[in-house]
């Protein structure tokens, strides 16, 4: 009844339930009503089509940043630099978006590809450093995050604009936003990007599971030594994996730049889209479909949470606690696996 596959599905599921339960207990301990709290969360995420639109809007970049982390992990790399890759992708898409006047059929794909290319470039640097010099990618990608943050700020202020804190809006021909969706969802910021995100999940699945390139990438990820012995180029695959991962992250930036906001403002800190991507990938067990589902959950929690203080008086920080607990339970999956097996044994 419990084969490995079902266990792999059960673990995240049970983690989510445990996380929510633990959240409820915490709410009770602090004197809040958990039913009211989660009710507010549910309504805040799905209460009407506006909230639903906003939830989807939040889910979109999470899918892509989750894919970025998951792709790297599947190839044995820990890409902590998704955050920075999101930044450069965001900037590249907006830059193309404001700098040109082109027909949509050219402009939008150009802006989106620019984001992917920028992200890929940002992934290329740690990739090549690891492949050629053996520098650990975690250290490089963390530093690249800061480089991305501060250089995009500088570029926004001094290159794209003249001393402003914020770029102009991207031309309509480069925008993913749609009046039609906006009207349907009472001006939520949901945009066509969700289609790109879901499509990219398919692409990731296809590359990894169906192509020779994916076979090599996974092989190198699991065992670089054996892959080298089998005649694969380990270095080349590391660089490529980082670039593809970075491209996904860059697209997450384009979702914000061309969809949600339509501009880029100088930022005082990280957006956290990239960092949340790590959690999304972990919860999604690094699979394409898992990432989409996990991103959906995170988006729901994040948007729903905003409704909790007003309706149920529960502070939004509580949702952060719930998310942290879910991650904790996934990370301690060993424990859950043990319980499942125990349960199975007694069931016999």
């Amino acid at each position: 009844m419990f084969n490995n596959r079902t266990i792999n599905v059960l673990i995240p599921l049970i983690s989510v339930i445990l996380g929510l339960l633990a959240g409820a207990v915490i709410m009770l301990l602090f004197g809040y009503n958990p039913i009211l709290g989660y009710g507010a969360l549910w309504n805040g995420a799905f209460g009407d089509s506006y909230f639903f639109g906003e939830t989807i809007r939040m889910v979109t970049p999470y899918i892509l940043s989750g894919l970025a982390v998951a792709f790297a992990l599947r190839t044995g790399l820990l890409n902590i630099g998704v955050e920075g890759q999101v930044f450069v992708g965001w900037m590249a898409s907006v830059w193309i978006g404001v700098a040109f006047e082109l027909p949509m059929i050219v402009h939008l794909p150009l802006a989106v590809s620019a984001a992917a290319a920028a992200g890929a470039f940002w992934g290329f640097i740690p990739g090549i450093l690891k492949a050629k010099l053996g520098v650990h990618e975690v250290i490089v990608t963390i530093m690249m995050n800061y480089i991305a943050l501060y250089s995009t700020n500088a570029i926004v202020r001094h290159v794209i604009t003249d001393g402003e804190d914020q770029t102009e809006r991207v031309a309509p021909s480069a925008s993913l936003a749609s009046d039609w969706i906006a009207e349907l969802t009472f001006y939520s910021r949901m945009h066509y990007g969700i289609l790109i995100a879901v499509f990219m999940a398919l692409i990731m699945w296809f590359i990894l599971n169906k192509t020779t390139r994916g076979f090599e990438l996974r092989s190198v990820g699991y065992n670089p030594h054996a892959s080298n012995y089998a005649g694969m180029s380990v270095g080349k695959n590391i660089v490529l994996a980082m670039m593809i991962s970075g491209a996904f992250a860059g697209l997450a930036g384009a979702m914000e730049g061309l969809g949600t906001y339509g501009y880029l403002a100088a930022k005082s800190g990280f957006t956290n889209i990239g960092f949340e991507g790590i959690a999304v990938a972990l919860l999604g067990a690094n699979t394409a479909i898992g990432v989409v589902l996990a991103a959906f959950l995170f988006g729901t929690l994040k948007i729903g949470a905003l409704n909790m203080p007003t309706v149920a008086d529960v502070p939004t920080e509580l949702v952060e606690i719930v998310i942290a607990l879910i991650i904790f339970f996934v990370a301690s999956s060993y424990m859950i696996r043990w319980f499942i097996l125990r349960f199975k044994k007694e069931g016999k």
Binding site: N43, A45, F51, M58, L184, L306, N307, V311
Partner: protein, 370 residues
Amino acid sequence: MKSRRFLLILALLLSFGLVLAACGSSDEADDSGGDDGESEEGGEQSGEDFSVAMVTDVGGVDDKSFNQSSWEGLQAFGDENGLEEGEGYDYAQSDSEGDYTTNLSRLVRQDFNLIYGIGYLLQPALEEVAEQNPETNFGLVDSVAEGDNIVSITFKEHEGSFLAGVAAALKTETDKIGFIGGEDGDLIRKFESGYVAGAKSVNPDIEIDIKYAESFAAADKGKLIASNMYNNDIDVIYHASGATGNGVFAEAKDRKQNNSDENIWVIGVDRDQHEEGQIDGNNITLTSMVKRVDVAVNEVATLTMEGEFPGGEVMEYGLDDDAISIAKTNEDAMTEDIVSKVDEWKEKIANGEVEVPSTDEELEEFESSL
């Protein structure tokens, strides 16, 4: 062909959403009863029906600075008019930049009559939401937004900062003072310009170190910068950095605790931050550039409730209406001598003798005229 398929998928997604939405509202029917129905609102409103809400920036409602001050204003307004928290007045907290629009829209959908965006960071989001919801009234604190249903509330912070600069220049023993800003931008430059002008008016040779933390919510950076400044003989720091300033206070208090003879000071911002500077009978808060956001927020809310919403206008508050002032709570530190000097300069500003600069260019001009 392609776009038709796109639409199809989208329609599917949305119908899914609507199903969920239906589930959601049936679940919570008792809680959110009467959400639909009257969204009409005339000019006239009694205290009973009127409701007002605010959206914080990332500093949060407990930032001990202007978000908190605004919220105190709303609370006072609620008390005066017998409103209930949650129904009559409320706030929404933003954890990230992406939350501004969501929070504003959500409050619109909860039928609040007047919605404030606190802080200039909310300007683009507020303008966008205001345009989409012409029936709702909006207020923006600290910046100027375009729109007939928006009132912009600004302050002459440069004037208050000028007086803070005067106080700092009189207090310093090393002739070195510091300024810590939050995010670099027009607003905080206003503080900076006024402060520098004030200090140089007292002592043209004074050294002023200016640093930006690039955040209104990074107490750790605030602490680090303050530590550097105090190490470099600077003894008075004026911070205009929201919750980042909590780090400045923490650093000053740490130092004071280790060595109570060290004469170091912080000048607070927005609220009277006297409490923040309290340590073992000493107080390191020299003064604060008090900006009565609460007064302004309360006043505009009252106007709106009375049906006199000043849509499209810019309300500018300054020294003359006591919306900007210099705190004199710390009587040990603000000696009579300093207070009288500060009042002297305040008089000069009031009667137009001194034109306080509010931008970098104006400051340059001002400095060359000294």
